[in-house]
């Protein structure tokens, strides 16, 4: 089984913000698993895609969620006509065939699920398949990357200290305003002046992180808004539809965001 269809064909557009490319490459070669920290929609996924392309490795991305079980990661017995057969999960495939495995939003998974990655993150670099009584040794090019958003975890939903300490971390934030505006303008196909206004709105909304909002508007949100504008939707309407309404249902917070939008336009 090959993971060729998980290879990037074209270079994903990515604007480096600081030295993150060199850091990633070093970690990859030293087999130091990596944690990308930062708010949602700030470019973590895009960065990993870009690095997979750069390093010419297939990329297996797994979006973690609360109902995800260890079996969803490592694999399970399935019933087939002849009886039960084992089917590798995506993590096992990446381990066997040497892919970059990206566990997106790992805290969303329950802690009894996330412990299965522990043996992969230390010297052993193995993945035990208990149900099958098998110990899979990792391919030399296997590389584990997780993303972690420190912003909105409640104490209940945080990474275990023992998990966190197995990773080296790169801090991601939103790009500084001028660069963020350039990214938004490029990705959405809108004028930089319009993108600048959007970024100003986003910065204001980010001030409400933890105060009415879990997080403010992300770069991704701005790009989406920009695309609506590029399609001819009026700027104020696009903001309402793609920024204000998705962020919150609370009346007061909505009112505040609407005023933010009109103050910035």
């Amino acid at each position: 089984m090959s993971l060729d269809h998980f290879r990037m064909a074209e270079e994903p557009f990515y604007t480096p913000v600081a030295g993150e490319i060199a850091l990633f490459e070093a970690a990859f070669h030293e087999h130091v698993p990596l944690m990308l920290k930062g708010p949602t929609g700030c470019g973590k996924t895009r960065f990993v895609e870009h690095m997979a392309w750069r390093l010419r490795r297939p990329l297996v991305t797994i979006a973690c969620h609360e109902d995800m079980t260890a079996a969803d990661l490592v694999g399970r017995y399935l019933l087939e006509a002849e009886g039960t057969v084992w089917r590798d999960g995506p993590l096992t495939e990446a381990v066997r065939h040497g892919a970059i495995c990206y566990l997106d939003e790992i805290v969303e998974a329950r802690q009894d699920t996330t412990v299965v990655i522990h043996p992969l993150t230390d010297e052993r670099r193995v993945l035990p398949l208990d149900k099958r009584n098998e110990l899979v040794a990792a391919h030399p090019d296997f590389f584990l990357v997780i993303s972690y958003n420190p912003g909105y975890q409640s104490a209940v939903k945080d990474l275990k200290e023992s998990t966190k300490q197995r990773f080296a971390a790169i801090d991601f934030g939103y790009a500084e305003p001028a660069r963020e505006a350039a990214i938004v303008a490029q990705e959405a196909g809108i004028a930089v002046e319009v993108a600048e206004k959007l970024v100003r709105i986003a910065i204001a909304s980010r001030n409400l992180g933890g105060h009415g909002l879990e997080e403010g508007a992300s770069t991704r949100t701005l790009i989406r808004t920009g695309k609506l504008v590029a399609r001819g939707i009026a700027l104020a309407d696009a903001c309402d539809m793609a920024i204000v309404a998705p962020l919150t249902d609370d009346r007061d917070t909505r009112g505040a965001l609407r005023s933010v939008v009109s103050a910035c336009l």
Partner: protein, 765 residues
């Protein structure tokens, strides 16, 4: 209020008859003839006859020549502009006034209504006001003269419908008591002023608070510190250190504009906080210069804010409505200058304004960040006003537009003019409050290390010092069938922490009760993990389902693919807020115990608290009492975020005092409980009787308000229950909370056993 007329009772010759009656009084007859001619010319001959009928009717209730003359005079000003109906309404209502309140009152009413009536108006407003007065005369003739004493103020603030509504409020509030009724209609009764503001469409800050707090944080990155001030003397916001003093209400603003108005006010204050880094030194400045400094600084900080957020310019400009004019008075010039600085498109040819704008534009273009240029320009402009001999009256001066702060907070207080001391006291008071707030903010203070909060005894504020304002709440008036907004002030009285040794001893002594409660807790907590079978996904195979599936496969039938199983723990999700009545009546002894109602209640709460601590249900407790509507006293016993152990000393320190304003306590409790994220939010009130307070005489008033507070809390999704103590309490409780939600504990000594039991009965499935 037009009384029925013997409508043109075939009496077409009314005018001639009246002329005959007036025959012996040539002067009256002459006036009548003149008025009659005027009516005929303006309204026609048919109307003239119906009109004459009314004149006669008035004449016959002994109106006297002065009343007739006053009406003729009104007509002279109105005709030919007015409709016949309007003219008739004036006569009809004058007659009602005469009949019920006498000619003197009627005459005074006509004079009041007619004063300032322009020639050629339509008179509909005047007629409607007179109708409102006639309505009052018919129901409470004694109230007409008192009202007329303050009629000008009423007419200035209220439209005719508002006047009628305000009169109706007074009659509903004081249907029989003449003395209190007179006080209402003279505007001496504070409630009369409140109703006046309400009827005038006063807009209130409270509904906008949360939104504006977030907006300010979003745009400026800081949280505004707002203090509500329910003080009529404060007509503009005021900056006080980092605080913003906000009048609880603004009179005479349209409700529709309120959202934008408060937004403008809040962001203006935020602009000061962001861009006025230093206070101005008032020394050596004349009042007019100070007012100018404030005005120019307002413009400067708004400009800076607009540079960042262009939309704010639109927001603020919307409130600058003063038109260009040749007037050379301070209010006009200042309002126009403010507009000119906010709105480049505004044109005003006044030399002083042109010069002021020019000076400002140049200075701002050079050094927008430098506050000092404001003082320099203010000096020049103030000097010019002196040369122009335009007087400045500091006492009557009001900053315009109304969204701007009053400017006092821009100056260094220590050097300020002593004539403003009364105002400054307010400022200082507010600053002091803020200090306290930082120490005792409620709910949910930042977690402190436990030893600092529990061990250090904090002195109680002296009895005469009002606690910090936590909130203003409306109160329901059953006679008005309306909320009186911001009627009740809820204040914070932090518990004195004493040693809890005695209470702990009693807890020890009640161990057997504690053990029984402990068993209840274990039962509530157990909530065994459920095994969810036959799932599409899961951690393990559901063997039974797998067997079935295999059999199905063997048999060549389509198997049910749901062969996994999951384990899930179904948690309790209940938050409790306990409201404990600590009014004076809880000092009563409990028969046969040597304890008081309050100390027994405290023990019960301690037992329940212990139990909940073990269970992990979020739990808070507040004690309440009241000393009139301006002082509803809340003492936090336990906050949601605190450990239970911190509450014990506070519980031990509760002392009975004051009365029971139940509705306000429930509203406050609901406000504290509502933000809890739990699935069920339970509010339990422990009280020993009917609501009462020192400033309320009307029977049933407070109970009606409490009932409404309960209904509203339930409307917010809270479960509200009452634990009623004492033999008679459950009836009073049921009247407020409903029978099914009231648990009577007639033998108070049993409360410790019962309280926790009740709670689990309510919350365990």
């Amino acid at each position: 209020m037009a009384a029925a007329m013997p409508e043109a009772a075939a009496d077409t010759a009314a005018a001639m008859r009246l002329e005959r009656q007036l025959g012996g009084r040539p002067e009256l007859a002459a006036r009548f003839a003149t008025a009659r001619g005027r009516v005929r010319r303006a309204l026609g001959a048919t109307v003239e006859d119906v009109w004459a009928l009314r004149v006669r009717a008035l004449y016959e209730v002994n109106a006297g020549p002065a009343v007739l003359a006053a009406l003729y005079e009104l007509e002279a000003r109105l005709l030919p502009g007015a409709e016949a109906e309007t003219v008739f309404a004036l006569w009809d209502n004058a007659r009602v006034l005469c009949r019920h309140a006498g000619a003197r009152a009627a005459l005074a009413a006509l004079a009041a209504v007619g004063s300032g009536l322009p020639h050629g108006g339509t008179g509909t407003g005047e007629a409607a006001r007179l109708a409102a007065l006639a309505g009052l005369a018919a129901r409470a003739p004694d109230a007409v003269m008192p009202l007329l004493e303050v009629f000008d103020e009423l007419a200035r603030t209220l439209d005719p419908a508002g006047l009628a509504g305000w009169i109706g409020d007074g009659l509903a509030l004081h249907p029989t008591d003449r003395r209190r009724r007179a006080a209402y209609f003279r505007l001496i009764d504070p409630l009369a002023r409140l109703r006046l503001a309400e009827r005038a469409g006063a807009v209130r800050y409270a509904p906008h608070e949360e939104r504006l707090r977030r907006l300010t944080r979003a745009l400026f990155g800081f949280e505004p510190q707002v203090h509500l001030v329910a003080e009529p003397a404060l007509s503009r916001t005021r900056l006080a250190g980092g605080l913003l003093l906000m009048p609880a209400r603004f009179d005479g603003l349209g409700g529709a504009d309120a959202a934008r108005f408060f937004e403008a006010a809040m962001l203006h204050a935020a602009a000061h906080r962001a861009f006025t880094p230093a206070l101005f030194a008032p020394a050596g400045m004349k009042p007019v210069q100070r007012a100018l400094v404030a005005l120019l600084e307002d413009a400067r900080v708004e400009r800076l804010a607009v540079a960042r957020f262009p939309g704010l310019g639109r927001l603020w400009r919307g409130f600058h409505t003063v038109p260009a004019s040749p007037a050379q008075t301070i209010p006009s010039l200042f309002a126009r200058l403010a507009r000119g600085l906010a709105d480049p498109a505004y044109e005003d040819g006044d030399g002083w304004i042109v010069k002021a704008r020019d000076l400002f534009e140049r200075a701002f273009a050079r050094e927008p960040q430098r506050q000092g240029f404001v003082t320099e320009i203010a000096r020049i402009l103030g000097h010019d006003l002196g040369q122009l001999r335009i007087p400045f009256d500091g006492r009557s001066y009001r900053v315009e537009p109304a969204y701007r702060d009053d400017g006092l907070g821009l100056f260094d207080q220590d050097e300020a003019d002593p004539s403003a001391t009364e105002r400054l006291e307010l400022t200082v008071e507010a600053a002091r409050l803020r200090q306290e707030e930082r120490e005792t903010a409620f709910p949910d203070p930042p977690p402190e290390p436990p030893e600092t909060t529990s061990a250090r005894p904090r002195p109680a504020p002296p009895a005469d010092e009002p606690g910090e304002i936590l909130a203003l709440y409306p109160e329901w008036h059953p006679a008005l069938r309306a909320d009186q907004p911001d009627h009740v002030t809820v204040r914070l009285y932090p518990a004195v922490t004493v040693t809890a040794a005695a209470l702990e001893d009693r807890l020890q002594a009640s161990r057997s009760v504690g053990a029984r409660i402990g068993a209840l807790v274990r039962r509530a907590r157990l909530g065994r993990p459920d095994r969810l079978r036959r799932r599409l996904d899961g951690e393990e195979i559901d063997l039974e389902a797998a067997q079935d599936a295999l059999q199905a496969l063997r048999a060549g039938v389509m198997p049910d693919p749901r062969i996994h199983a999951l384990k899930r723990r179904q948690g309790r999700d209940v938050a409790l807020l306990l409201l404990l009545d600590v009014s004076q009546s809880t000092a009563d002894p409990v028969p046969g115990e040597g304890e008081t109602v309050l100390s027994t209640a405290a023990l019960s709460v301690a037992l329940l608290g212990q139990a909940l601590d073990g269970l992990g249900d979020p739990f808070a407790a507040l004690a309440f009492a009241s000393n009139g509507r301006s002082d509803v006293r809340i003492t936090p016993v336990k906050r949601f975020a605190e450990r239970w152990t911190e509450a014990l000393p506070r519980l031990a320190a509760l002392r009975p005092a004051y009365s029971t304003r139940l509705g306000a306590a429930i509203r406050h409790g609901a406000a504290v409980l509502a933000p809890q994220a739990s699935h069920r939010r339970v509010l339990v009130v422990v009280t020993d009787g009917e609501p009462s307070d020192i400033d309320v005489e009307e029977e049933g008033y407070l109970a009606a308000d409490a009932r409404r507070a309960v209904v509203q809390a339930r409307g917010e999704g809270l479960d509200v229950f009452c634990v009623a103590l004492g033999p008679a309490a459950d009836r009073a409780g049921a009247a407020v909370f409903g029978r099914r939600n009231t648990f009577g504990v007639s033998r108070v000594a049993e409360l410790p056993q019962r309280l926790a039991g009740l709670y689990f009965q309510l919350t365990v499935r």
